[in-house]
Amino acid sequence: MAKFISRRDFLKGTAAGALGLAAGSLFGGRVEAKAEGPGDPAPAEVSPNPDITWDDIFATSYSQANRRSNPDAKAPENPEEYIVQKGNGDIGPSLMVGSVGALGITEDKFMNNKPAWLGDEPDLSGKVSYTKEADVLVIGSGQAGTSATLHCADQGLKVICCEVQTWEEYDNYACDLTTYNSKFFLDKGAEKYDPNDIFTEYMNKALGHANQKIVMDYAKRSGEALDWMLAYLPEDYVAKYAHACNYKGNKEFDGTCSGSRYFVGMTQWRDTGTESNTNNNMWPYTVRLLQQKAQELGAEYIYGAQGLTLVHENGQVTGAIFTDVDGNYFQVNAKAVVVAAGDFGGNPDMRLDLCDQLRNLAWSYGLDRTDVNNVGSMGRDGSGIRMMLWAGATMEAGPRAGQAAGINSRPSFPFGGVWPIFGNDGKRFFNETITRHGSVGYLDMLPEGLKMACVTDSNWDEYCEYQAYDHQAMDRSNDYMLEKVRKDMANYVAGPDGFSVQAFARYGNDPTTLYAAETLEELADIIGYEGEAKQGFLDEVKHWNEMCDAGYDSDWGADKSLMHFKIEKAPFFAATAVTGGKPSGGLCQHAAVCTDGEYRVLKGDKSPIPGLYAVGNSCGQRYGVQYHTPTAGNSCGSAFTTGYLAAEYLAADLEKGIEAPAAAAAEERSTNGKYYAGTYTSSKNTGYSTVTVEATFSEDELLDVSIKSSGDQDLMPQDLKDAMAAAIKEAGSTDVDAVSSATLSFSRQGVIDAFADILAQATA
């Protein structure tokens, strides 16, 4: 673009001349003049931006990660180095393959059969510059991908694992890992559970929605998976960083609260009770160690590999196409492909479309339900799920929930658990034990701004012995954590400024502010009760204590385990929160593609796609309508278990041989002519209309064609259907341009696509 003067020269001239210009009056006028019409002599140098994309700027296509922009990244070589290095914050993979904008799908087509986030599968076959071969390809190396790769390798399979992060920057943000009946726990004296009890509790909480095979396998075999994994790790590493949680310290809890059973089984990988004592989450480093073990067993890891599409033909998946760190396309061919690429929680368009609960919670708050940013979620970008859908997979049915709306909206003490909660008027207003594991959205739908003052007294530690092992609960098996909390509580500071206590729930490094007072009156003032509300609070505490004496909550039916918690002995403590403000977002999203329970991915007709497996958060039906579970940490534990088990199921499939359905069917048919005789039907949807074409063939010729339907609205007039059918019959192909101008273009395309599909089926 030729300028009469460069920007720098112009600026310097302005400064030197001490001249102030209203530039808009000069340049803006020229812009407007240019828009007036072809006869306007607007300056040639003023021109609009060219219509470009990021790809034009960088001359690359799908490779977006710029993975080599961090040349200083260095993989930790030992746990100590990892702990120090953790401060660099490099975490989490994300594929971010293709954007809605790049796909060119207009907004008006969003939420139709081809939603914007899905778009068309790109044909990348012509771009592949090199190819690799394996028995098994694993896409993604989080919990599930790592266990799948390791277990394939230790069964002697040739496995390639492609991971989007480089080895140097590899990290993830999982922290707790729940499994059941592992030797690791049983040796510490943890109770041995009947897997049927675990299964039943999960299925009840899932309202029957989850895949029973997946849940039963998890109940029966997750402990085995944990022990298998631990055997690959150095003993001293396990002894130092693997903490079996909750196997002691809740001695008065009988395992049931409000009809829900709770099970011990969470392993936390933390740097606590050590010399460095950083409380860092060590799980990501543990996963690194497991990846190294898999490589020792012969697995090949390709780091920095960004998955783009699956290779699929005749209904069978035989590989995938990636870009490497240099942006080169490569293909991995494999007999079995395991997608372990995570969830879609970090993809706002998929979250909007697929997560019913988050979208509608936003709506219930009066927020714009089409605003994808109204409800945050913390997961991955959903590209693995997208690849599977392109290959014919189907999503599990809704309602689909985030993990987990409302999970943290109830106030809690740093030592976790359930305590009496008082509202705006000082009265309790819900059953605290029902909302034990978050509220799965319930608190989100209460009116905004209800105070939730969670109150206890100096007996808090004793009361904790009656508490369930739960999300947000401190691990009372961890002596270090327990002592730290006791120390902070002993050093309490009374007054409206509150005091801070180290919290050990969640990631563990987060402080919680508590308020303390020597009398309940003072506490009421501190937490904001005035006038009638203050008296209401004091009366309610008295009433609560009376119900505790009776051992029965006549107001809200709280579980008997809570009725030990009289609020009577100073000092008194409170933590506060309010309802609403926003619908609680989720962590990852658990909804994903349907499988047959042994991780074989299903099509819409619920037949498996040969060669395709989904595990971890890419595998659907692991939960019900919410992440409502009897043990914290089961998301990661379940994901890890799915990878472990999928490796066994696919190994058995490989032993038998994986075959494309089309190939199998072809073997049963025979012909001496051009076609397999018979009548064939195919339906195609082009976004607005579904057309169904039926065609009958003899071995030598096309005998008849009819167009049965053009969708619910029947947009295609009968005379055009007949004319087009006749033209197709005459041509014997999809070359029917003669009638195209007279036909609604999308219906015409649907007919052509359907007949092309029929030809493919019928042609010998």
């Binding site: 673009m1 812009v31 060219p50 700027i57 914050g89 920057e169």
Partner: protein, 285 residues
């Protein structure tokens, strides 16, 4: 270098500055491409300049998402001379800290986040016209940002609003001091709910006392930081270092002149690659 990303998903009533309210990812992506074209078109003009600090603000800059941010950083490093240790500060909605964005933010060395919490007192949100992200804070702080291991996490806190709860502002500041927060920006309430100037000054004085006691220092008015965590961009620009600014309404100060980009979004989207077409005013410093 200052990059204006003047969007937010919902503009709270207490925010005075001009912001484009949108949840449309397409519009944001169009804007990011326009910004890229302005950056690309002007790169050679400033080849003698070394970028010492980068600030992404002018709105909830994180709304652009990790993908576009990654490309933007790549473009800047390709076309401009960026000092190796140049810190990148991003004004950020807590909602945008997630597993899809964070790898890109980390990989491009975002070293400071100004998180728009506005308050840390739950009861304030009854009156505050903004979303409450307190539930996500543990995940943001410990899970994603690793704030206890590195000085990256900063909070934007609101002061001078009439209807916050009795202890609200004080508790927000106290809560800040108890968390691994490296820096704090105190943002004054705008609009009808603004307290009197005297009351605003009293809140600032209270914050000053609490923050000073907790080891923060005020390096510029209403900007507080722990030792070594002052925003280099603001420090340098306050000291008179030239500022290259790009985006809607961006104000560049260099060569003794101040240029202001247009605040007309459509004009910027259409002509961002042509400095003449988007420059609104040019005045001597």
């Amino acid at each position: 270098m200052k990059l204006n990303i003047p969007f937010c998903t919902r503009k709270p009533s207490f925010v005075g500055r001009a912001l484009v309210e949108t949840g449309k990812t397409d519009l944001v992506r169009r804007y990011m491409l326009a910004l890229a074209q302005e950056l690309a078109a002007n790169g050679e003009e400033f080849s003698d300049c070394r970028v010492e600090a980068i600030r992404l603000g002018g709105g909830s800059a994180s709304i652009m998402g990790g993908e576009d941010f990654d490309r933007l950083c790549r473009l800047i490093r390709e076309r401009y001379d960026v000092a190796e240790d140049a810190p990148i500060t991003m004004r950020c909605s807590p909602a945008d800290i997630n597993g899809a964005n964070q790898p890109f933010f980390n990989r491009n060395h975002v070293s400071r986040y100004d998180l728009e919490f506005y308050s840390l007192e739950p009861q304030d949100f009854i009156h505050l016209d903004c979303l409450n992200y307190m539930d996500q804070l543990p995940y943001i702080s410990s899970g994603f940002l690793r704030a206890s291991q590195r000085p990256v996490m900063g909070f934007v806190l609101l002061y001078g609003k009439k209807t916050v709860s009795r202890y609200g502002f004080r508790r927000s500041v106290l809560e800040t001091t108890r968390r691994p927060v490296s820096h704090v920006l105190l943002q004054k309430c705008a609009g009808a709910d603004q307290m009197s100037e005297e009351e605003c000054a009293a809140q600032l004085a209270e914050a000053a006392e609490l923050l000073t006691e907790a080891g923060y220092h005020e390096y510029l008015p209403r900007r507080w930081a722990k030792e070594g965590s002052a925003d280099r961009f603001w420090t340098l620009s306050a000291a008179g270092t030239p500022v290259l600014a790009f985006g809607l309404g961006a104000v560049t100060v260099i060569d003794g002149a101040v240029t202001r980009n247009t605040t007309d979004l459509e004009r910027y989207l259409t002509y961002s690659g042509d400095y003449e077409a988007i420059t609104e005013t040019v005045t001597p410093v």
